[in-house]
Amino acid sequence: MYNGWKIIIGIIIFAALVTAPFLLSGGKVVAKPDPKIDTPEIQKLPENERKCVESKEFMKTEHMKLLNDWRDSVVREGNRIYIGAGGKNYDMSLQNTCMKCHSNKKKFCDECHNYAAVKPYCWDCHIEPKEKET
C-alpha cells in the first residue's frame, strides 16, 4: 500500500475524533427530566380541583399546540375564555392562568425544554413567576 502508515494514522485520528464525544462522556446517562407539579399553589387546591385545563397526557404531548391556539384565539380573535375538558371555563393566559398554578418555571418548563434542547421564546416578553433560588 502506498503511504500505508499515513493512511492508517489518518484513520486512527479520524476514529478517535468521531468517537471522542461518546468515550469522553464515559457512558454517563443524562438524568431524565423530572418536571414537578407540586407547587404551593397547586397543593392549596382541594383534591378534586387539582386538574389542568385538559388531561395530563394531552398536556404532556400537545401543550405547545394548545398554547399556539390560545395565543391566536386571544390576540387575533379576541376570545379569551377556554372551555376545558371538565366543562370549566378558563381565562386563556400564559402569565395569568398557566403560571399562577405552575409557579415553578424552572422545574416545570425548563426541566424538559433543556433536556430536549428546545428554546421557546415565551419569556422574552411574558413575565415569569418569581421563584426562590434553590
Binding site: 399546540k65 379576541g78 375564555i81 381565562d91 386563556m92 395569568n96 421564546y121 416578553c125 413575565i127
Partner: protein
C-alpha cells in the same frame, strides 16, 4: 378495451394497499390535531363597532393632570422609561400645538394654547396606513376598530413607523426590561426588536373596563363607540366643536380634540 383476470387482480391489489396506507397515514397525522376546542369571548367584555376617544383639553390644567394619565397607561402596560429621547418608548405623551396640529398654528395665537401641552396617542385610524404596510399582519385592524399589535408576529421592520403620520409608534432598540420600574405581572413586556404603541387597552375592554387613561382622566378623556348614537363620544361630538390631527391625510383618525 378489456382487461384479463390477471390485470384486474393487480389493479385491485394496488388500490387496496394504497387505501390502507393512506388511511393509516392520515391517522398518524390526525393525532396531532387538536379536537375542535371551544372558546368564547368574555361575557363581561365591552363590545363596540368603532371605538373612539375625545380629548377634552379644557380639563387638563396642571402638570399633574397629564402625568396621572400618562403614568397610569405606562405603568400597567410595562412601558419602559429609557430616558434617552432617541430610544424612548411612549404610548401616550405630550406634544405642543404646532406639532400636534401642524398647519393650524399662526403667529397671533394665544400664549396659553401655544404653550399648552396636548395629549396625543395612537389615533386608531379608520383607514390605518400602518396596517397597509405591515408585511406580516402583525399590526391589523380589529372588527371593533382598534388598530392592534400582535407582538408574536412583529419582525421589527419599522415600515409601520414610517407609515404612521402621527409618530404613535416606538421601536425597542434595546431590551426594555431593565428600564421598567415596577413590572405589572398581569401584562407582558416587549422584547428588543419589536414596535409598540397604544392598543386602546384591549385587555381591559375584554374584562369590561374602560381604558386606563380614561379612568384616570377625571372626565378629560371620553371613550365610546362611534356607531352607537347614545354613546358618550357621540354626545360630546354632537355638542362640542372638535378637531382631529392631520385629517387631510385621509387616515380618518378616531381621536378627537376639544381645544377650548
Amino acid at each position: 378495451m378489456s382487461i384479463n383476470r390477471r390485470e384486474f387482480l393487480k389493479i385491485a391489489g394496488i388500490s387496496t394497499i394504497l387505501a390502507i396506507g393512506g388511511m393509516s397515514a392520515t391517522n398518524v397525522l390526525k393525532r396531532n390535531w387538536l379536537d375542535a376546542s371551544q372558546v368564547l369571548p368574555d361575557p363581561k367584555a365591552l363590545i363596540g363597532k368603532k371605538w373612539a376617544m375625545v380629548v377634552n383639553m379644557t380639563k387638563f390644567k396642571t402638570e399633574y393632570d397629564y402625568k396621572r394619565v400618562i403614568n397610569a397607561c405606562h405603568r400597567i402596560h410595562n412601558v419602559p422609561d429609557i430616558g434617552n429621547p432617541k430610544r424612548e418608548i411612549k404610548w401616550i405623551w405630550e406634544e405642543t400645538f404646532e406639532h400636534a396640529f401642524p398647519g393650524q398654528e399662526h403667529e397671533y395665537m394665544g400664549e396659553n394654547i401655544k404653550h399648552q401641552p396636548f395629549l396625543v396617542l395612537c389615533n386608531h385610524c379608520d383607514n390605518p396606513a400602518c396596517v397597509r404596510v405591515c408585511p406580516t399582519k402583525a399590526t391589523y385592524k380589529r372588527s371593533d376598530g382598534i388598530v392592534m399589535m400582535d407582538m408574536h408576529r412583529c419582525i421589527g421592520c419599522r415600515f409601520c413607523m414610517a407609515a404612521c403620520p402621527f409618530g404613535a409608534r416606538s421601536f425597542n432598540w434595546i431590551n426594555p426590561r431593565p428600564f421598567i420600574k415596577e413590572e405589572n405581572k398581569e401584562f407582558p413586556t416587549r422584547m428588543k426588536g419589536v414596535v409598540e404603541k397604544c392598543t386602546f387597552c384591549y385587555e381591559r375592554l375584554a374584562k369590561g373596563l374602560k381604558p386606563a387613561c380614561v379612568e384616570e382622566s377625571n372626565g378629560g378623556l371620553i371613550f365610546g363607540d362611534l356607531e352607537d348614537p347614545e354613546s358618550d363620544v357621540r354626545k360630546v361630538l354632537h355638542s362640542s366643536y372638535t378637531i382631529r390631527r392631520k385629517p387631510e391625510l385621509g387616515t380618518q383618525p378616531k381621536v378627537y380634540y376639544i381645544i377650548t
